[in-house]
């Protein structure tokens, strides 16, 4: 149990997926401009990561590994992610229309979000057990959601700041992200 808590903290804070591993930077810079879209994207990514990690982990250890097909990993995983996103989109549209109108736009973008495939591959590379995999996926994606939402607040404030024309937008965002990742270094001593 202690191991799982430590793993959760590591995934959430110490090895934060955006600030430390650089996965999902494209979407991080793309949608953190507005608070509402950051929240939508963050929640959609959370759902997709937990679902697709469970499916890819099961496929890898129950099908690919026993039959010596591990070399197919990348192709199978990206197909699973694309299919998951499609199914999730259809399911939400059918059963939860209000949720669909909130998350709908972000779902297709998630297929090419490196976080999803990255977490699926990290689960395999670290040889996690099923419960470790669940904790790792959930807290990594929560880390992503937390950062992207916090950052959207910062960027909304930055619109008011007098920034030189050349540094407006992405450069200023990157520098703010640098300061944030410096803050997150403080969590290293936690574990």
């Amino acid at each position: 149990m202690n191991d799982l808590i430590a793993l959760a903290f590591t995934a959430f804070l110490v090895q934060n997926i955006i600030l430390n591993q650089f996965l999902g930077i494209c979407s991080f810079l793309g949608v953190s401009n507005k608070r509402s879209s950051a929240i939508g994207m963050g929640l959609a990514v959370f759902f997709v990561i937990v679902l697709s990690s469970t499916v890819t982990w099961t496929i890898y250890w129950k099908m690919l590994y026993p039959y010596g097909l591990t070399f197919m990993r990348t192709i199978v995983f990206i197909l699973v992610v694309a299919a998951m996103v499609q199914i999730l989109e259809m399911a939400i549209k059918k059963f939860a229309p209000p949720l669909y109108s909130a998350l709908g736009v972000y779902l297709p973008l998630i297929t090419t979000n490196c976080t999803v495939l990255g977490v699926a591959i990290l689960n395999i590379q670290n040889e996690f057990t099923f419960s470790e995999m669940l904790v790792f996926s959930a807290f990594t994606s929560l880390g992503y959601t937390a950062i992207i939402i916090t950052f959207s607040y910062i960027r909304e404030q930055m619109h008011k700041a007098p920034i030189p024309a050349g540094f407006k937008g992405i450069p200023a965002g990157l520098i703010a992200a640098a300061i944030m990742s410096l803050l997150f270094k403080g969590f290293v001593g936690l574990i």
Binding site: C26, I75, L79, N113, G166, F167, P171, A177, S181, K185
Partner: protein, 240 residues
């Protein structure tokens, strides 16, 4: 596509990828490997060249099948083609360049979801000939390599005091700004580089605009002078 009608030469196509539409500094695509692997110049070159090879293969293949694939399922088809090529590159590197394979780590399979590759497939290869797509891929791949190596050069030089690949050591590593090698350094360096490039570009545009304005002003002044002269010429006979 606006560029479809106007044919551009292979040389212009490559230069476009290198400078005008540089994927790292201008389009800001493929940020994950850009920040992740640029701790040293050799990693950056390895990553850049891998993406170059993948891009050349996927762009040509997708351009080849662009008329067969139905429009509704084109994105999944493209992703499968890209995943196939990336898997092949992965095997090749694992077998022959194992050091690079290990240092690129997770970023190597993640080339599959690199926005540059799917972006070029969708925006260029899906409605251009194989010949044009090939040069587009070379330009974009080289542009990405250039972006990565610039970033890595700055980070490694100031972060460790020298470049291992070139065998130079400018100053002792104890005096270097070690934080440039950490994730924080990656964000700062990239932010500053893009900012500086943008500033230079805006400056250039303003200068070009100032020159243009000056030309227009001179031309207008000339026109006005001419009209006045004409009016004068008309006035004189009337008085007489």
């Amino acid at each position: 596509m606006a560029i479809k009608k106007k044919r551009i030469t292979p040389k212009q196509n490559i230069l476009k990828g290198l400078f005008k539409e540089n994927p790292t500094f201008v389009l800001v695509l493929g940020m994950c490997p850009t920040l992740g692997v640029t701790t040293s110049l050799d990693n950056a070159l390895g990553m850049g060249l891998s993406v170059l090879v993948v891009l050349i293969l996927t762009n040509s293949l997708i351009s080849l099948i662009r008329n067969i694939v139905p429009a509704e399922i084109r994105i999944p088809v493209y992703i499968v083609v890209i995943a196939l090529v990336v898997t092949l590159i992965e095997w090749f590197l694992e077998a022959y360049v194992n050091g690079l394979y290990n240092s690129l780590g997770i970023y190597l399979p993640l080339i599959v979801v690199n926005c540059i590759i799917l972006g070029r497939a969708e925006a260029y290869a899906s409605d251009n000939t194989i010949y044009d797509s090939l040069f587009d891929a070379i330009g974009m791949g080289l542009g990405f390599t250039l972006g990565l190596s610039t970033l890595a050069f700055v980070r490694e030089l100031f972060g460790t005091g020298g470049i291992q690949l070139l065998g130079i050591q400018l100053f002792d590593s104890t005096n270097a700004a070690g934080f440039l090698i950490t994730p924080t350094g990656a964000f700062v360096t990239l932010g500053l580089l893009i900012g500086i490039i943008n500033t230079v570009r805006i400056d250039k545009q303003n200068k070009a605009k100032a020159i243009m304005d000056e030309k227009i002003r001179v031309a207008l002044a000339k026109k006005k002078a001419k009209q006045e002269a004409l009016a004068q010429a008309k006035l004189v006979p009337e008085v007489a």
